[in-house]
């Protein structure tokens, strides 16, 4: 098992945002977590990365408990996240953002990794010396993904990578996710764009007001009446 979360309960002060959530991601899968705004998806990912803590419950990554591991150590273990809203370093250049993505590699030569990311995202190569805050929304999303890939993650978590992008760019982002998956990266994808997410997912979970209410293969959920009604406008 690559990632196993059991009975997560996460709070913002008195607000109980994630209520007894359990799920798992196996090696080589694309798993998606879908649900409406405010369902608790981002909070779940923040908890997996160690930025928030669950009261009780278990989180295991590659059979090792990470429930109380420091966030930077979790990245070192191979669990990376592209956060919601991209959160690139807007005052640094494109290249410096990639350098930060490779922070855990200490003083290793990361030029080859950069070249690999540039191959995947040619736009970034053209703009490598540009200040990241001046990139377009689509380019910023590419940078956020490229930056996370610099650490060679075993499991990549993406929080709404299609948010705020034009349809053509959404297609591009999903194509890239499929490519990364083919190249061997396991993926946990959080999305509001349920249709696209279910179309590429091996398995999926539906989250509603802090709880997981449905789960199954991507195909099963795409065909289910509840999902059709609530998320696919059918």
């Amino acid at each position: 098992m690559m990632l196993k979360a059991e009975d997560l309960n996460v709070y913002y002060g008195p607000i109980h945002a994630v209520k007894g959530v359990s799920f798992e991601v196996r090696e080589g899968e694309i798993v998606t977590l879908i649900g409406a705004n405010g369902a608790g998806k981002s909070t779940t990912l923040k908890t997996l990365s160690g930025l928030m803590r669950s009261r009780g419950g278990k989180i295991e990554f590659m059979d090792k408990s990470i429930a109380s591991t420091a966030p930077h150590k979790i990245v070192e273990l191979g669990l990376a996240q592209v956060p919601e809203g991209r959160r690139i370093f807007t005052r640094m250049t494109v290249e410096e953002n990639l350098d930060m993505g490779a922070f855990i590699k200490k003083n290793a030569n990361v030029e080859a990794d950069k070249e690999r990311v540039f191959e995947q995202f040619p736009r970034l190569k053209e703009r490598r010396k540009q200040i990241a805050g001046t990139l377009s929304g689509g380019e910023q999303q590419m940078l956020a993904m490229g930056r996370a890939l610099m650490s060679d993650p075993k499991l990549l978590m993406l929080d709404e990578p299609s948010m705020g992008l034009a349809p053509i760019l959404v297609e591009q982002v999903f194509d890239i996710i499929s490519e990364l998956h083919k190249a061997g990266t396991t993926i946990l994808l959080v999305e509001q764009n349920a249709e696209m997410a279910l179309s590429i997912a091996d398995r999926a979970y539906v989250m509603e007001t802090g709880r997981i209410t449905l789960s199954g293969t991507g195909k099963e959920l795409a065909a289910s009446e509840e999902v059709q009604k609530a998320y696919l406008g059918g």
Binding site: S49, G50, L51, A70, P71, H72, V75, E76, A80, Q81, P83, R87, I88, F89, T90, R91, M92, E96, D99, M100, G101, F103, I104, K106, N107, R147, A148, S151
Partner: protein, 292 residues
Amino acid sequence: MKFLAYLVSGISLGSIYAIIALGYTMVYGIAKMLNFAHGDVIMVGGYISYIAASNLGLPPLISVLLAMAVCTVLGITIEALAYRPLRSAPKLAVLITAIGVSYFLQNSALLIFGANPKAYSPVVSGTLQLFGGQLSVSYVSLLTVACCIVIMVGLTLFTGRTRMGKAMRACSEDKGAAQLMGINVNRTISLTFAIGSALAAVAGALLCSFSPTLMPTTGSMPGIKAFTAAVFGGIGSIPGAFLGGILLGVIESLAKAYISTQLSNSIVFAVLIVILLVRPAGLLGKHTQEKV
């Protein structure tokens, strides 16, 4: 020629403000807090180099290096014990704690070294005569300006080129995202306090070389002035702290010479207010919103 003399003295005084302001601004940029105890670290640095030179008979350079080492440890300790537990506390609580640390350091110095001023012997002595003796510049002045430039260039290279320096900039912009890159935010903040405090020790030795009376309150006024300089230049900005420090020193020196000694501080703060009215983020500052 008189004007030139005032200008030179303003620039060297400003260089000291700039060195202190760099510590203020780096800590603010990364920990988003005003470390009001920074001025008192200068005073501690002054006492350590004083004892090393006067009581232990060590050469000036070694004394200052020793003071830097002690202040580095002091800065890291203050951050870990007083500020780190308040990382997610309201800003006001952190500010009050910083003021508390400031009094703690002053009172400890009072207890250990007493209230009597110590006569600090300058790290270098003598003056350079220029224009056939019409302009004399002390070697301390020259050393101060040189230190300031070296520190400024060093910090610019460090934050621009090195892995840890870039990590500092990343933390200053978005700590959450920095953690997702595998950056240890606590360690980065520690490093910032270490650098700022080591610089404060250098500033302490230079300051006491200019005005050789060393007391437990020695760091207060220069600390406040340097804080003003950091706001002047745009708090959080390294070139801003440099520019702000030099400007503040020059304004103060010229105001003292041509307007009034008593009013010089008021004039400095009046200029600050005007600058902030025109440029609310300071001369080189950027308006930024913090992300959670």
